[in-house]
Symmetry: C2
Subunit: 381 residues, 2 copies
């Protein structure tokens, strides 16, 4: 087991009717900015609950943080924070709204441009405290420090790290009205988050292995019900809790991490606008196959414990495990091949060019260079 | 799934050589009290590492917090805090040292006697901040608010709640020199902590079920190696991490909890001095058997997923699961019957009398009254 330091101070407030607790959790004497996405919260009743909880507070609203939040949009909110003296931000929406808010909160504390802050973490100069009301289980952003920010003008997409949310309120009922595609991408995102922390070197932490497998098993169990026309509370609550637990550091204790699938997926999104979770399920089977030697022991363990694959040679078991994983992604209604979404060789070549130019080395062994990225993506055409 | 609020701010610092980090984590300008147990830390090298890390700090030492920490001992440390103006406490030892320290830290902030504070939580008036260097995996005290305090003069043992430790340092190498009996009791304690949060009502939280089962599976896997003459680092690290994760709120999200086994076990310790983990393994099979109807669905799930028991009628599966659980406890070298430790009917009668007098109702359904306690204990004679 690797040495590690774990600390996650976010207060997680989970359950039916919990949005009303905003009024207790928010600071009474501070100027508050409430950030939103495109308006789905006005259709699912969340906005109404938030507005009611905020009665008597001194607050402003900022609307329009888009999926894969763009720095061009976020700059406007940063200006608002500075000009209005905002002291606390609460994001209401999905992972993108909160990711964008993490950058807004930090950029409000520095003089430099927000994109400079993304590209150069040493410019970080603290943050406005921020919190969230989460309406979409997927990113885990509600209980971690990370964010992913896009730049429309340069076609780039990078990670950014702030502090943890002060609190996050998760009411599973807010997920009932989500489109199936968003639920599918959220299930896929959770699945792959866990795999990035699991599918690496064997025997580092048997307990973390069990917990990672436990999240994936749970996602596999709830997926059909989460995608059925009649979503029930317990199904969506289990999905929502799994998404949070998949990327809050809990399954990362003492283990190496990969993240190659995410890094490649981010490039697909940056170049084509494809939804994040959808990109991941096209890439992961390629990562598993190209790195089948390095990751073999863990793929076999995963196949046995999650898919029940217990027979055959090591190579056969790896093949069956990759196949079962891809079949699960297909059962969510997602594409698992780039060509299904008309993503062709030109995109692959541009991604490979970028990794070559940057000299990036991905994965738990930092051995996935642009050549391996090309192999992975060509297999997924 | 039940509504819940989760927040655990403790900074967990885990791994080889991490005790040296004390010098970074402790406040430089504060008067520090270091609390210890009976002296095993002088034999395993931990004291030396702590003393080295504390060079240059203004600190006092308090020695002699015993297993099942006694309020009679702790009062002396409270006096020391008050007379010397102690501002921060760090416990170095096992769960008992830290449990005692939790009471010392709180009692130092109030005028009333420490035992009054245990019996009447409304007297709580804040706490000195405290932290730990943990040398014995068992109680989970290093990452939770709880403590269990004994009163020698009255033969009582009660829970007490303070805040969370600021940080806890866990170096698995500190466990290499533990006696087998302490390791066995720590494994048993971890196992039963998880069961108290798991063996209740089915289908409350499928993810928490997986995580709870994952801890127990891991404990079962590491137990033989943890008890072999040649303890290795990864085994003890896995055990240590499992103990912390078993009682830090992580597997308690959205689920009911039982704690009947612990409440009964505490009485056995209070009356006979039997080590905590040892009491639990004598009681749990009785709880499972007497409450076999109420807990049946969960016992069957546990038997299937942890012990691989998949055949037979429900009753047969429950019997096999209880038997497998008891056999595991026996494999640790622990007694599973009261009579093995010469604990007889007189003790059972006194425990039943106490529960009757207090009118306590135990368990997730608050239906375990003194009559059921009697049934449970008589089965375990």
């Amino acid at each position: 087991m690797n040495n590690f330091v774990f600390q996650n101070p976010t207060k997680l407030i989970f359950g039916k009717g919990q949005i009303a607790r905003l009024s207790k959790e928010l600071p009474k004497d501070k100027k508050i900015l409430v950030t939103f996405g495109g308006g789905s919260v006005k259709r699912n009743g969340v906005y109404e609950q938030v507005a009611k909880a905020l009665e008597g507070f001194d607050y402003l609203e900022f609307w329009g943080i888009e999926p894969n939040p763009k720095v061009e949009t976020l700059r406007k909110a940063v200006e608002l924070c500075k000009s209005e003296g905002v002291e606390f931000i609460v994001a209401v929406g999905g992972g993108s709204t909160l990711d964008g808010t993490k950058l807004i909160a930090a950029a409000a504390k520095v003089e430099c441009d927000a994109w400079e802050l993304v590209k150069n973490p040493s410019l970080y100069g603290g943050t406005l405290p921020f919190a969230s009301v989460m309406t979409l289980p997927a990113t885990g952003s509600e209980m971690n420090r990370g964010a992913v920010i896009s730049n429309l003008s340069t076609g780039e997409k990078y990670s950014f790290y702030n502090t943890y949310p002060v609190f996050s309120i998760l009411d599973p009922e807010a997920t009932f009205s989500l489109p199936d595609f968003q639920v599918a991408c959220g299930l896929a995102d959770t699945f792959v988050h866990v795999m990035e922390q699991y599918l690496t070197i064997p025997d580092c932490s048997p307990l973390m292995d069990r917990w990672a497998e436990g999240i994936v098993q749970t996602i596999v169990e709830v997926a059909p019900k989460a995608l059925s026309p009649e979503r029930d509370y317990d199904t969506m609550a289990t999905f929502m809790l799994s998404a949070t637990m998949g990327l809050n550091g809990f399954v990362a204790m003492g283990v190496p991490q990969d993240w190659a699938t995410h890094m490649i997926g981010h490039e697909i999104t940056a170049l084509t606008g494809t939804t994040h979770g959808q990109t991941l399920v096209m890439v992961l089977p390629g990562v598993m196959n190209v790195l089948r030697e390095q990751k073999g022991a863990k793929i076999v363990q995963f196949g046995e414990r999650v898919w029940g694959i217990k027979e055959g040679s090591t190579d056969e078991r790896i093949d069956c495990t990759i196949e079962a994983t891809e079949q699960f992604f297909r059962s969510l209604g997602l594409a698992t091949r780039l060509s299904e979404l008309s993503i062709g060789e030109d995109v692959v070549e541009e991604i490979v060019r970028r990794f070559k130019e940057r000299g990036t080395l991905l994965g738990e062994n930092a051995n996935v260079d642009y050549r391996l990225v090309e192999q992975i993506l060509r297999q997924r055409l």
